[in-house]
């Protein structure tokens, strides 16, 4: 392999499986890169060098014995530190969780990736308790964007976006409640997949808003995203929301091209509150695709409000005891939002839940006449670290609360979304490809087709 540092997961797996490169060399290379770049990026909170080398040695031994390994043989990956990792307390970016007992077993998604031959190398920085769009963690320090280290990675899976975007690992896992995979994917210039709600097991991961928490992968190609997703699919009785649905592999479908897919652009709400760079990103995508029409997601602004209300209330419910007993150990910005969430009258929250049902029915109706919907992922490129406000459509607004304005109305109704990176200057910008429930294959097909045209690309940052 000419450039192990920036190789895709698929290329690494091919090289390891065909004995061109030992898995141990791949892992050692990754550990060296982490040692070199992590002091700046602050993507990793835990590096599992010994475990990774031991697993790599097992992979190499299996290959030497002629055993057939999975499609991710020798591929290093890392996980947001809200996944259970055997031997580590599951921190979820918090100070409070550091005193928890160490996990005694890995999360199932880690087990499934490792069963496919992948190698866990560490845990990643994140926004406290996943209630964050910036990637700035008060306890661990901010994760930094590899395209400009003075800027945010986006949150809350900021370490995941920074680690993949900076080439420290080809594959990472994160979680997405209101946009926490899609926002860092957009800011860090990589691919991200938020699968259909209920598709991937969330067992042995720390929750935030259980009725719309999702776990999913980051990668630098659509093919790698598909390979990781395929490896992680399957029912799991340990997650009450995980559906008993057979595995539907998407990797074999990637090369079908766009065919006669009906591709629409989200209008109305999704064409407002955009910086020029977000409009440019959308323009590039729409130019590269055969758009059939524009659609409007009805009451999207109200949907965002409902998502906000349910999210803060359900999050507060999860943390109520910690708010009572250890309020000074929270990031104050998180704590005070959770306090507010605990104080929303129950009938208003119930109403938001009912609205969600209505809204979801309207959006599903749209998917009778279209296959995918294109929408912006974030309103802007990554803001500067510490930046607290920006001006959207002439109004000064808080950054933290408004980065997710285009992701929130999608996540809380559980649709699958792929974010693709548009390589703009000076920073990349993501665009959402939204599909009907269980149609990850369609969204990934479009992402892959766009990648073939060159319209989207996980561009290597200077210095990485």
């Amino acid at each position: 392999m000419s450039d192990l540092d920036w190789s895709s997961a698929s290329a690494i797996a091919e090289a390891v499986s065909s004995r061109k490169v030992p898995a141990l060399d791949v892992v050692n290379g990754v550990l060296t890169r982490i040692e070199k770049h992590n002091p700046v990026l602050n993507a990793f909170t835990d590096v599992l060098a010994e475990r990774a080398r031991a697993k790599a040695t097992k992979v190499d031994s299996a290959i030497a014995r002629g055993e057939k390994l999975g499609p991710l043989a020798g591929v290093p990956f890392a996980v947001k530190n809200l996944f259970d990792v055997e031997g580590l307390p599951t921190r979820a970016g918090s100070k409070i969780n550091r005193t928890r007992a160490a996990a005694t077993r890995d999360a199932p998604l880690i087990e499934r990736l490792e069963a496919a031959g992948a190698i866990l190398v560490g845990a990643l920085n994140m926004g406290e308790y996943a209630y964050d769009f910036t990637g700035e963690n008060i306890h661990d320090g901010p994760s930094r964007n590899p395209h400009d280290v003075t800027r945010m990675t986006g949150g809350s899976s900021g370490g995941s976006g920074g680690a993949v975007g900076g080439g420290l690992v080809p594959l990472a896992l994160g979680s997405d409640t209101n946009g926490s995979i899609r926002v860092p994917a957009s800011f860090c210039g990589v691919f991200g997949l938020k699968p259909t709600y209920g598709r991937l097991s969330r067992a042995r991961s720390f929750p935030f808003v259980p009725s719309f928490d999702h776990l999913g992968p980051f990668a630098r190609t659509a093919r790698d995203l598909a390979a990781a997703y395929d490896a992680m699919q399957g029912p799991d009785a340990d997650d009450a929301a995980c559906v008993d649905r057979p595995i539907e592999l998407v990797s074999p479908l990637l090369d079908q091209g766009l065919g006669d897919l009906r591709i629409a652009l989200a209008g109305g709400y999704f064409q407002k509150n955009l910086f020029p760079e977000a409009k440019e990103a959308i323009a590039r995508i729409t130019k590269a695709l055969p758009l059939s029409r524009e659609v409007e997601l009805p009451e999207a602004m109200r949907a965002r409000s409902a998502a906000y209300v349910i999210s803060t209330c359900e999050g507060a419910s999860l943390h109520l005891d910690r708010l009572r007993t250890r309020p000074n150990d929270f990031d104050p910005a998180v704590r005070d939002r959770l306090f507010a969430g605990a104080m929303i009258p129950a009938p208003l929250v119930d109403r938001a839940q009912k609205f969600r049902r209505w809204y979801r029915a309207q959006v599903l109706e749209l998917f009778k006449s279209v296959d995918v919907i294109i929408a912006p992922a974030t309103p802007c490129m990554a803001p500067k670290l510490g930046q607290t406000t920006f001006v959207l459509d002439g109004v000064e607004l808080p950054v933290r609360a408004n980065i997710g304005i285009h992701t929130q109305p999608i996540s809380f109704i559980g649709l699958p979304v792929v974010v693709v990176p548009v390589p703009l200057e000076p920073m990349p910008m993501g665009v959402q490809i939204i599909a009907a429930p269980w149609r990850e294959d369609t969204a990934l097909r479009v992402a892959h087709a766009l990648e073939q045209t060159g319209a989207v690309l996980a561009k290597r940052p200077k210095g990485f």
């Binding site: 209920g198 409000s305 104050p332 005070d336 507010a340 605990a342 208003l348 969600r356 979801r360 109704i413």
Partner: protein, 59 residues
């Protein structure tokens, strides 16, 4: 929406046994104000009485 959010915050904090300190109240109030405005925006939307809340999705 309560006319006096500070009183409301004190009352709910006591009911839920939340140890809200005086210095935290301006931020809590600002967050609660936004949350309630959003909640009322949803409340104002007419929905049929028969509609059920969504939590877990099955298709």
């Amino acid at each position: 929406m309560p006319a006096d959010l500070d009183t409301y915050i004190d009352t709910v904090a006591e009911a839920l046994a939340l140890p809200v300190e005086e210095a935290w109240k301006p931020t809590i109030r600002a967050n609660l104000d936004v949350s309630l405005k959003m909640a009322w925006m949803v409340q104002e939307f007419p929905l049929p009485d028969e509609i059920e809340p969504a939590s877990i999705y099955r298709v």
